[in-house]
């Protein structure tokens, strides 16, 4: 498969990149790992006139801590997330999730920024970012802004990101540290997109749930923050009855399409199963 023709740009700095985007406008697309965009270009579902390759922007790579947050550069690859001791210690749900994305070759290239900014509801990291209450730092030539992950997603391939902006980093609040966590993903085979998946962050205090955040992957046009499901376990011992109520709440907002992954009923059912399993595992880890 041969993509439509395009002009290729490989800027050396963030300033150069933002200048290019300001100048080229909607005719340009940035490419990070390329494993979402390039297949779309081969199918000619995406036909950018200009491709701006971010691979030389070292300042967009790496993981660092600030007093109240972990900051992950947008160009940090899934492979690097998996290998990060810092994340394994302080935010292990990211490693658990990255290991369930695609396959080793794709994870060497695929980036956290691409995964969260592409707007594909099948991507796994967005729901995790909703559960973590992460925020995204977006830059354009004349400024920058911070957008909460929970406010970022608008529809299929539609996000708050403007055509002259790029996502430069992801900020994860340190309140996530020490919480119980789980990302449960049902898929047909290794490397597949989720039939349905659930991310859970859970804080237990004296056997009672002090906070809970639940989000769903691939059962709607965007990742879904399941606020009611989280509230259902808040203040409980995350016992069977509370978990069942959370499952009911999650299924109530699930709105999947019927496709090769299954019927609407099946995928809605699986979304609930994933919430149940993720809550149980997060609870074990929270104690």
């Amino acid at each position: 498969m041969i993509p439509a023709p395009f002009a290729y740009h490989r800027p050396r700095s963030l300033d150069e990149t933002l200048g290019l985007l300001a100048q080229l406008g909607e005719d340009a697309r940035v490419v990070a790992g390329g494993h979402s965009l390039i297949p779309m270009m081969k199918l000619r579902l995406a036909r950018p006139e200009h491709l701006v390759d971010l691979q030389d922007l070292e300042q967009l790579r790496g993981i660092r801590t600030e007093p109240d947050a972990v900051i992950i550069g947008a160009m940090t690859t899934q492979h690097e997330l998996i290998g990060s001791e810092l994340l394994a210690a302080r935010c292990p749900i990211i490693r658990e999730t990255a290991l369930q994305i695609a396959d080793p070759q794709v994870r060497y290239c695929g980036t956290l920024g691409g995964n969260v900014a592409n707007g594909d509801p099948g991507n796994d990291m967005p729901a995790v970012m909703l559960a973590l209450d992460a925020s995204y730092c977006l830059k354009r030539r004349d400024g920058e802004r911070e957008v909460a992950a929970r406010e970022f997603y608008r529809g299929v391939y539609s996000t708050a990101l403007q055509s002259d902006e790029i996502l430069v980093s992801i900020s994860i609040p340190m309140s996530a540290e020490g919480q119980g966590y789980a990302y449960e993903k049902q898929k047909r085979k290794v490397g597949d997109y989720a039939t349905a998946a659930a991310a859970v962050m859970l804080k237990m205090s004296g056997g009672v749930c002090a906070s809970a955040a639940i989000a769903l992957t691939n059962v709607g046009e965007t990742p879904l923050f399941a606020k009611d499901a989280g509230d259902a376990v808040l203040g409980t011992g995350v016992d069977n009855a509370a978990v069942s109520e959370a499952v009911r709440c999650a299924r109530a907002i699930a709105n999947p399409t019927a496709d090769g992954h299954g019927s609407v009923e099946f995928r809605t059912h699986i979304a609930g199963v994933m919430v149940r399993r993720a809550l149980m595992r997060a609870k074990e880890r929270a104690v």
């Binding site: 498969m1 041969i2 993509p3 439509a4 023709p5 395009f6 002009a7 290729y8 490989r10 490419v31 390329g34 494993h35 390039i38 297949p39 270009m41 081969k42 491709l51 390759d53 691979q55 492979h79 695609a102 396959d103 080793p104 070759q105 794709v106 060497y108 290239c109 290794v190 490397g191």
Partner: protein
Amino acid sequence: MAKMHLELRVNKKEVEALAEPRLLLIHLLREQLGITGPHIGCDTSHCGACTVDMNGKSVKSCTVFAVQAQGADIITIEGLVDGDGSLHPLQEAFREHHGLQCGFCTPGMITRAYRLLQENPNPSETEIRHGIAGNLCRCTGYLTIVRAIRAAAERMNGAGEAAE
């Protein structure tokens, strides 16, 4: 679209090429450079038959543009053979353990296994299976491939110890 001038290193040799930006790396390798070891299987980043090693990472060369490989260091199955023509321990082990039948997936499979063993010289069976999850084989059922990679790891570790 105007062609771009590329300089990269393929199998330890400096090469130059002219490529349209939309040319995929697999087409540069196969059609311009005559390196036909990496295969085009699915052309949709699933099967791994086009796997090459690029800057120390296994990549599916059907999902990388040649222009993105500007300045890159690439190793294909052709580059694993020793200078004197003798096979790489992985190639020997695939032959001994019947790690192939039709052979179509083999160049990608071995090139991926090469990087896996660079990162993890002594992988368990489970680690091997996860490590080659991006390479599909429709003949073997993987059993003999896993055995071959395991055997190659043992041989390479043994050779390392003998050299010390």
